[in-house]
């Protein structure tokens, strides 16, 4: 009896410790974003001033615009490329398809700094001026694998006769694609798009290396932090955290529903 109690307590303590390490810093940051004092040392009362200031800052609003533009466009393009790529690879003979699938995995495992530096080198080398558009290209590149790997399992689960059934009932190959295949794998496509949007929204490293003229929100936070952090940055980080948390919850909820 005593032993099981002790084991339970130990398990509980361990879990609490892990969660504390993960979430206390974020909780502190969120708390400070509502603190009247600029100082991190004392709590002088609740305020929403920092949030107000955030929305008055032209620089931050411009960065928000860049972030959203890049995220939306990158998501749209990578969802199309990733979905079509997955369908193509799925239809290929296994040998070649395996090589391609593994090659597509690589960008997901490559450290962001490597991806960032190499993309920067490419843009420098090809003399493309680095700004919003190069950032967009970079985001499409790292978003696409996420779509690919959300769609591939749906294709594998699909009844292999579905495409043939569509042809059998009178569809041309193209009609079979958009009337049957795409609706059938749409849960995977939506999950992939949500993931891509999340990745794009909070990317710092790759964006930092691939854009000079335009800054996204993560870059603003970084450059502000170097000058000495203002509580507006806590407010901005809090909003970004909440947005991404909401998106990830949406993704999880979707995969949870599908597995039911």
């Amino acid at each position: 009896m005593v032993r099981t109690h002790r084991a339970k307590a130990l398990k509980g303590a361990y879990l609490a410790l892990v969660l504390a390490f993960l979430y206390i810093p974020i909780v502190i940051m969120i708390a400070l974003s509502f603190n009247k004092s600029v100082s991190r040392a004392e709590w002088t009362g609740f305020t929403l001033d920092w949030y107000a200031k955030l929305f008055q800052s032209k620089q931050i609003m411009a960065a928000l615009r860049v972030t959203l533009e890049v995220a939306v466009l990158a998501t749209a393009v990578s969802t199309v490329i990733g979905t079509l790529g997955a369908i193509g690879m799925h239809a290929m003979n296994t040998g070649m398809a395996n090589v391609l699938v593994n090659m597509s995995y690589l960008p997901m495992t490559t450290p962001d700094i490597v991806t960032g530096v190499s993309l920067m080198l490419m843009f420098v080398f090809t003399k493309v001026p680095m700004g919003k558009w190069t950032m967009l290209m970079a985001h499409i590149a790292f978003d696409t694998p996420y779509v690919l790997f959300s769609v591939m399992p749906k294709l594998r689960q699909m009844n292999p006769n579905l495409y043939e059934a569509a042809l059998d009932l009178g569809c041309s190959p193209l009609q079979a694609l958009y009337k049957v295949i795409l609706p059938e794998i749409s849960p995977g496509i939506v999950t992939g798009a949500l993931l891509a949007f999340t990745m794009s929204l909070d990317d710092f490293v790759i964006s930092y290396f691939t854009s000079n003229t335009d800054q996204n929100l993560a870059m603003i936070v970084y450059s502000a932090a170097r000058r000495g952090v203002e509580p507006t940055m806590y407010a901005l980080s809090t909003l970004m955290f909440v947005a991404i948390m909401a998106l990830l919850l949406a993704v999880n909820r979707r995969s949870g529903l599908e597995n039911m």
Binding site: N159, N161, L162, E164, A165, A166, L167, D168, L169, G170, C171, S172, Q175, K179, V180, P183, E184, S186
Partner: protein, 377 residues
């Protein structure tokens, strides 16, 4: 005369996947309004043959004719053929109504015999509800296909294919996933539908009983070749070779020797038979159905043996009788106790003589005494 009745004709169809030859020089014709079954064990090429007729595979060589015209290169969506797939392949994002209406929605109003879009909609509704009635699924229009049982899904898959009024319906083991009772019901229903609609059915199965129940014609396949084609009774009564005999129903297959016309020797005994035209002393396969062996007294039997096992099968007892070097499967309504000595009699027209085939897998009824290992036998 027969020529003009041929709806589909396959001429010298071969199919290989890489180095593996799946179909070898298949010649086959299918008559209008016929229920034909391609029957054979898994891997015999029956599904590949069906897929070639449906247009999902191209033959490596040979021709497929539809009403005398070559249709080898025509894609599936341009053939007047519809398919019921093995695992139903219903569209899960559509409800029952939209699944059945799928093919009709792709057609122009003119193709459905009406003028306007509104008329097309009404026409589709009319045809779909007629199909739902045919497959006994009225009232299920708005249901999701995920909420249906296997048998119901199968009915929807059949309705979805038939609503397009095809000339030919291909069915790839459509009842494979259903339980025995449901399968038997659906067999009769499918046969009734086929007769009612007057559509040619090409049916693929490995279940010989299913084939015998439903078919007008059975094509028995093995090793990528059609072994025998004919009506069920003929295939059952007069199998062309030992493989067909073994696959259709149960058989005793014994190796023997044709001494002269109407006289064969097997199990060290000479038997009168009704087969002629073999060479003198030609080695042959002798096929005898278990129900054609009569158990008689030991002193009057043509063969004598010892009962090794008895199984009660409902209508009859199935006994294994060891006689010399062979084990005989015998079906009889009277039971003989295990270990008893019995005589066996076979009338001449129940002895079927077949030319030896080079098939290595002919399951001869060799008796291996206990204790003897396989290598020694």
């Amino acid at each position: 005369m027969v020529q003009d009745m041929r709806l589909i004709e396959l001429k010298g169809v071969c199919k290989s996947f890489g180095d593996t030859e799946v179909l070898h020089d298949v010649d086959l014709y299918i008559r209008k309004c016929e229920f034909i079954t391609l029957l054979g064990p898994s891997g015999c090429g029956k599904t590949t043959l069906l897929r070639i007729i449906g247009g999902f595979e191209m033959p490596t060589s040979g021709e497929v004719l539809f009403e005398g015209k070559d249709m080898t290169g025509i894609p599936p969506h341009k053939r007047r053929i519809n398919t019921v797939f093995q695992k139903y392949a219903l569209f899960n994002h559509l409800n029952v109504f939209d699944n059945i209406a799928f093919g009709l929605n792709l057609k122009t109003p003119e193709q459905l015999g009406v003028k306007t879009k509104a008329e097309k909609k009404a026409e589709i509704e009319r045809r779909v509800s007629r199909m739902l009635k045919l497959v006994k699924m009225e009232g299920y229009e708005k249901r999701s296909t995920n909420a249906l049982s296997g048998g119901q899904q199968q009915r929807i898959a059949i309705a979805r294919a038939l609503v397009n009024e095809p000339e030919v319906l291909l069915l790839d083991e459509p009842l494979g996933a259903l339980d025995l009772k449901l399968r038997k019901e659906m067999q009769l229903e499918l046969k009734a539908m086929q007769q009612q609609l007057g559509i040619t059915f090409i049916y693929v199965t490995h279940d010989q009983e299913e084939a015998l129940t439903m078919s007008d014609t059975i094509a028995v396949m093995n090793g990528g070749r059609v072994q025998q084609i004919g009506d069920p009774k003929r295939i059952y009564d007069e199998p062309k070779n030992a493989f067909v005999a073994d696959f259709i129903g149960e058989s005793n297959i014994i190796s023997g020797e044709m001494l002269e016309d109407d006289l064969v020797r097997f199990s060290d005994t000479e038997f009168q038979c009704v087969d002629e035209g073999f060479e003198k002393n030609e080695p042959v396969d002798v096929v005898i159905r278990p129900e054609d062996i009569m158990i008689v007294g030991e002193d009057v039997g043509m063969l004598t043996g010892t009962v090794q096992s008895v199984i009660f099968k409902g209508v009859h007892y199935e006994m294994i009788v060891i006689s010399g070097q062979f084990k005989w499967k015998v079906q009889s309504t009277t039971m003989q106790p295990v270990g008893s000595r019995v005589g066996m009699t076979i009338v001449p027209y129940n002895i079927h003589i077949m030319h030896r085939t080079d098939m290595a897998n002919v399951p001869y009824n060799i008796y291996v005494p206990e204790g003897a290992s396989r290598e020694e036998a």
